[in-house]
């Protein structure tokens, strides 16, 4: 099913359009354009607000473009906004997020891809049972496992460290990624695997020489999925790290909600945009692969 999303090859099913300005077309495009306005509006408001000075915000209209463009809110949001005595803005959160993101993405993808491969090609007694539990695990509210994981990390000596959070992301990324890889590997021709076995290739040999080279698209999908998911995480960042390791989302919420004097809406919006920038860039660059990545969530086991 995931493939259907990406391939533009499948034709739309509706009846063929007739004239350009038929009533039907006006209705369709009219509706879509109105809907798109609703979707674009917040982005527009964010950008406009972040480029205005506070006096202009107080006087004016949140939808109107700035009379005088200023980048000061951006500078402030990135480098100067304060939480308590720390006035280094969001930049610290950004680098923390990067430091959390890279090992989490790498580790979770390695674990899940090898796991998916084992589940398809090297099944053992009980592997399907574990897989079923794993998929069910994706639906358990995180709150149920919040505290047990605090204990688990404490016992492992990882609580409050970067690696503790990496582990948490690896664990919670596992169900969906394993599903993704397992289904993809299942779609590869079985003969390839059998032929390699006959040639005497072992577990890792087949993984590295056959599975990996054939699965680059699905790795890209997995990377997109994890980058956006981990970047946007808030709950785990709040519970399992400490202030100097806070990811960007947590710091954003802190900066926006810690007011010294007057609320600076322009700085808040610049900060919000900066936090959303990474997943947005990933989204705009990856285009259809992103669609395929998120649709992986809709694929059934």
């Amino acid at each position: 099913m995931a493939d259907t999303f990406a391939s533009g090859a499948v034709e739309p099913r509706g009846p063929k359009p007739r004239r350009v300005f038929s009533g039907r077309n006006i209705m369709i495009y009219g509706t879509l354009i109105v809907v798109c306005l609703y979707y674009i509006l917040p982005l527009w408001v964010m950008v406009m607000t972040s480029l205005k000075g506070m006096p202009e915000i107080r006087m004016g209209n949140i939808f109107s473009p700035p009379v005088e463009i200023t980048f000061e809110p951006w500078v402030k949001a990135w480098a100067e906004a304060c939480t308590g005595l720390n006035c280094d803005g969001l930049s610290r959160g950004f680098w923390n997020s990067v430091r959390i993101l890279i090992p989490s993405v790498v580790l979770s993808i390695i674990v899940a891809s090898v796991n998916g491969y084992a589940l398809i090609n090297w099944r053992f007694k009980g592997s399907d049972l574990f897989f079923t539990i794993l998929i069910f695990g994706a639906f358990i509210p995180y709150q149920v496992m919040l505290y047990p994981i605090v204990i688990l990390l404490r016992e492992m000596g990882l609580y409050g460290t970067l690696w503790g959070l990496v582990l948490v992301h690896t664990i919670f990324g596992m169900p969906i990624l394993t599903l993704l890889f397992r289904n993809y590997f299942a779609s590869l021709p079985e003969e390839l695997f059998k032929a390699a076995r006959v040639d005497g290739a072992g577990f890792w040999g087949i993984y590295f020489r056959i599975m990996l080279p054939m699965s680059l698209p699905i790795f890209v999908v997995a990377i997109i999925l994890q980058v956006t998911g981990i970047w946007n995480d808030f709950l785990f960042g709040v519970v399992y790290t400490k202030p100097d390791l806070y990811p960007m989302t947590v710091q954003l919420n802190n900066i926006v909600n810690s007011v010294q004097g007057v609320k600076e809406y322009n700085v808040n919006m610049a900060a919000t945009l900066l936090t959303g920038a990474v997943p947005l860039i990933v989204y705009f660059i990856s285009g259809k692969l992103f669609v395929r990545g998120i649709a992986a969530g809709a694929v059934k086991g």
């Binding site: 939480t83 005595l85 605090v150 409050g160 400490k242 909600n257 010294q260």
Partner: protein, 409 residues
């Protein structure tokens, strides 16, 4: 070992700059508003000047957001060097579980028993005869802050007590002002209610309910009257749509709102905004009806670390926080009262002086955090925020409130 500890404590007491021994301590707190940040900077400055390094771990969003993070870090085995709590029962279980550093030797070396006033502050830090926290200030939550400008705009005199305030509310509303500023965070509603209890029902009722824990009084007619008064007061706050307490204070500073029931820490915000007590704003302790202070406040606890150097630094910081110079510098910025009676706050403004007078008069009660568990406090906050921000029936709220208190007996 014992003598070694004593020696470090003594060294700490005179705050000798110990060159080459600079130890980093991460200190977590929830002081993020303008006035608060200025005050905490004083602590950091003093600690750094004494040769150590203060690593600031501010957590925004108030104590409700910050405490969970602090506690889970301590119980999760990743303790910070020092952390703020309100003294009382918030850290009790952590102390009982043996996770907190025993400061008794620091306290003895520095005579905390004699200098900390009122003594109940130190009692709140004491578990089984040992001292586990360093109190840094006294905060009394029950003040009414009034904007002189708002009343001038409305053309009426500034009230001198809660009853006059209530009477003046319609005139303020007619002038387009919000009579009472109240932030949306749950603890603010609970604080306002606590202040009104003393103002409307009197100190005796407050003590009977909260100290003696007499549930018949809690369910009685006096408290029913408080709920009725709060139900009237919530209408004055209906148009106040801000979240944080300091945004609400800002409504008072800018004259958009007539008044706010808030602790004396609001003082810091007026100061940052350059306002002068008496001319720009008016403060009424005990809402102008019962001049008293509840001796709540902030204290620092020091989680046990497996590191002798850090432990020594923790003790140096504890001693420093109670020292006279730091007490003066910190409390002037914070707008709170010092925890020792032997220092001179000549620089204090009118409002702080009012507080100091009451403190000297001994008209004191313990704070909610000292007499109730966090569980009861949280339930009351949930109830109060619902009560203040909706049209919940006062009788129903009263009944629920009594149930909440009973859960903590």
């Amino acid at each position: 070992m014992k003598t070694f500890k004593l020696a470090t404590a003594l060294a700490a007491s005179v705050a000798l700059p110990s060159i080459g021994l600079a130890t980093e301590l991460e200190v977590t707190h929830w002081w993020t508003s303008g006035g608060e940040a200025a005050a905490v900077a004083e602590l950091a400055k003093a600690f750094d000047a004494a040769g150590d390094k203060w690593i600031d771990g501010a957590i925004a969003g108030g104590g409700g957001t910050a405490r969970p993070i602090m506690i889970s870090r301590i119980t999760g085995g990743d303790p910070m060097g020092a952390t703020q709590f309100n003294h009382g029962q918030q850290a009790l279980e952590l102390v009982e579980a043996g996770l907190m550093l025993d400061l008794t030797d620091v306290a003895e070396a520095n005579n905390w028993k004699d200098i900390v006033y009122p003594p109940s502050l130190l009692d709140s830090c004491t578990v089984d005869g040992r001292i586990y926290c360093a109190p840094v200030n006294i905060h009394s939550p029950e003040w009414l802050w009034l904007s002189n400008k708002a009343y001038a705009d409305a053309g009426i005199p500034v009230p001198t007590n809660w009853n006059e305030f209530v009477a003046s509310a319609p005139a303020l509303e007619a002038a387009g002002k919000i009579p009472l500023a109240l932030g949306n965070q749950p603890w603010q509603s609970n604080l306002a209610f606590g202040a009104m209890t003393v103002a409307v029902a009197g100190l005796d009722v407050w003590k009977q309910v909260n100290v003696e824990k007499n549930m018949d009084v809690a369910a009685g007619a006096e408290m029913a009257a408080v709920f009725q008064a709060a139900a009237d007061a919530r209408k004055f706050a209906a148009k106040s749509n801000v979240q944080d307490w300091n945004q609400a204070t800002n409504l008072v500073i800018s004259g958009q709102a007539g008044g706010q029931i808030m602790g004396d820490w609001a003082q810091g915000e007026f100061q940052v905004a350059g306002q002068v007590a008496g001319t720009d704003y008016t403060c009424l302790p005990g809402l102008g009806l019962n001049a008293y202070l509840s001796t709540g406040g902030d204290a620092f606890y020091f989680p046990k670390l497996q590191d002798a150097d850090k432990e020594a630094a923790q003790k140096r910081l504890a001693a420093l926080m109670v020292s006279p110079e730091v007490q003066v510098a910190f409390n002037l910025k914070k707008g709170s009262l010092p925890i020792r009676g032997d220092i001179d706050l000549a620089a204090a403004n009118d409002c702080m002086k009012k507080g100091l007078e009451i403190l000297a008069s001994g008209n004191l009660v313990p704070s909610g955090d000292q007499v109730w568990s966090p569980d009861v406090q949280k339930q009351n906050e949930d109830l109060m925020v619902e009560f203040w921000k909706s049209d919940m029936d006062p009788g129903a709220a009263h009944a629920q409130w009594v149930e909440n208190l009973k859960s903590g007996l």
